[in-house]
């Protein structure tokens, strides 16, 4: 299982309905990209971090391991805003308001990422996907996504083992051997995925498979109280941004 999904399964908010967490997490993300980066995104960033480490109970180390990935992308992307192409100062020169734009972009992306991480760290995919049918997503599409999700872990595990076996047979010692091993790894993943699908098909056919994959979803109700608190928090953040925007800018 992937670390974020594993953390979601043991999350303090696991039993909450995904809608509760979506309102809060995605609400923070929407605010992060819609409000002025300063002070709006900064406020969203602090709030999301406080909720993640506080009430949601996400361990700081796990959060950092997941957060550093999007943060790396954000920093790389923001660096390009520091320079400009053309103009009187030469072909490539430092952009006048580059640091400001890069800083704003960094604030916005890092805050928006935390909003999605809040949802991801508290909601396992297995709780979310079956409920998408009620949201209007066609059931066959959800079934394909469910099979993809469950088979991905098995395949990732298979690929990991094959890789270990290749390494043990000196399959990564030279560049040519590495390429050969990689090709074999990709082909094995394809063969195993189709083999598993065929075996799953046989097993399900024996149990009267009629085209729908019925899975048990943990019972949960949308908490009106939690949702109202979330909406109030989001509204307060938006209001605070509007109040502070002029004095701080």
């Amino acid at each position: 299982m992937l670390p974020i999904d594993a953390a979601a399964h043991s999350s303090r908010w696991r039993r909450r309905h995904p809608v509760d967490k979506a309102v809060l997490g995605f609400g923070l993300t929407v605010l992060a990209i819609s409000l002025p980066p300063w002070p709006g995104a900064a406020l969203v960033l602090v709030t999301a971090l406080a909720v993640l480490l506080g009430p949601a109970g996400v361990p700081g180390r796990r959060l950092w391991r997941a957060y550093r990935v999007p943060l790396g992308f954000c920093v790389t992307g923001a660096l390009t805003l520091l320079v400009q192409v053309g103009g009187p100062e030469g072909f490539v020169s430092p952009a006048e308001d580059g640091p400001l734009r890069a800083g704003e972009l960094l604030l916005r992306t890092s805050a928006a990422s935390l909003g999605v991480l809040l949802f991801a760290f508290t909601t396992p995919m297995s709780d979310l996907l079956p409920r998408l049918v009620r949201a209007g997503v066609p059931a066959p599409l959800v079934d394909v996504a469910l099979v993809t999700y469950r088979m991905s872990f098995l395949l990732l595990d298979s690929v990991h083992r094959v890789r270990q076996a290749q390494a043990a047979r000196l399959g990564h010692t030279t560049r040519a051997a590495t390429w050969r091993s990689l090709g074999g790894l990709g082909a094995t993943a394809f063969v195993r995925s189709f083999d598993r699908a065929a075996r799953l098909q046989t097993g399900l056919a024996g149990r009267g498979y009629d085209g729908t994959l019925r899975v048990l979803v943990p019972e949960a109700r949308v908490s009106v109280r939690f949702t109202l608190w979330s909406v109030a928090l989001l509204a307060a953040l938006a209001a605070l941004t509007l109040v502070l925007e002029r004095p701080l800018s």
């Binding site: 992937l2 192409v85 992306t109 928006a112 990422s113 394909v144 395949l155 699908a197």
Partner: protein, 236 residues
Amino acid sequence: MHIAEGFLPPAHAVAWGVASAPFVVHGARSLTREVREHPESTLLLGASGAFTFVLSALKLPSVTGSCSHPTGTGLGAILFRPPVMAVLGTITLLFQALLLAHGGLTTLGANVFSMAIVGPWAGYGVYRLLRRYGVPLMVAVFSGAFVADLSTYCVTSVQLALAFPDPAGGFLGALGKFGSIFAVTQIPLAVSEGLLTVLVMRMLVQSSRGELTRLGVLVASAAGRKRAESAGAVAR
């Protein structure tokens, strides 16, 4: 190259979502029809989605000594066709956003457009064109994967240049800036992905000829067709 969460301004995020929607809806409708007619396809399509997800997680050696990940769009489009890849790619990108923190939900539309629509269609187009003119399978596969990879990065450069025009050079200046940064890393990576796809396809031709024929990548041999016909005659 995924565009990170929150990287695009809201108007751009919505616009790319709207641009991607018809392709994804078209793919979803054909996939839904296929599953309703042949329920067993659910498992095969799910397996294809898992394969795409795992393929994008393989570490590819880069010329600089570091490593990167293949997009997998070229191989996916050749094996499963671009409309199916639009849906499988969207599912994969959604999983990557929520399970790996790669990409994002507000940038899902933009990432789907570059990685699940333009990449597969461009790669598949080149592959089909070359096959029509009798180019050997492996050359067509390499070209398809190379073009799919490179077109994905070109579209990403356009998306970023539109969102962040250069203060002096405008859209074209920004396109040159993002494009040249990507070119340094992505042209070698596109070559690498093309080579990897050829290696995978070569092994698949040896080990999974049946599946490739079923997917329409390989044409059934005359002997195979004769065997199938005689089996049908016996059954009748």
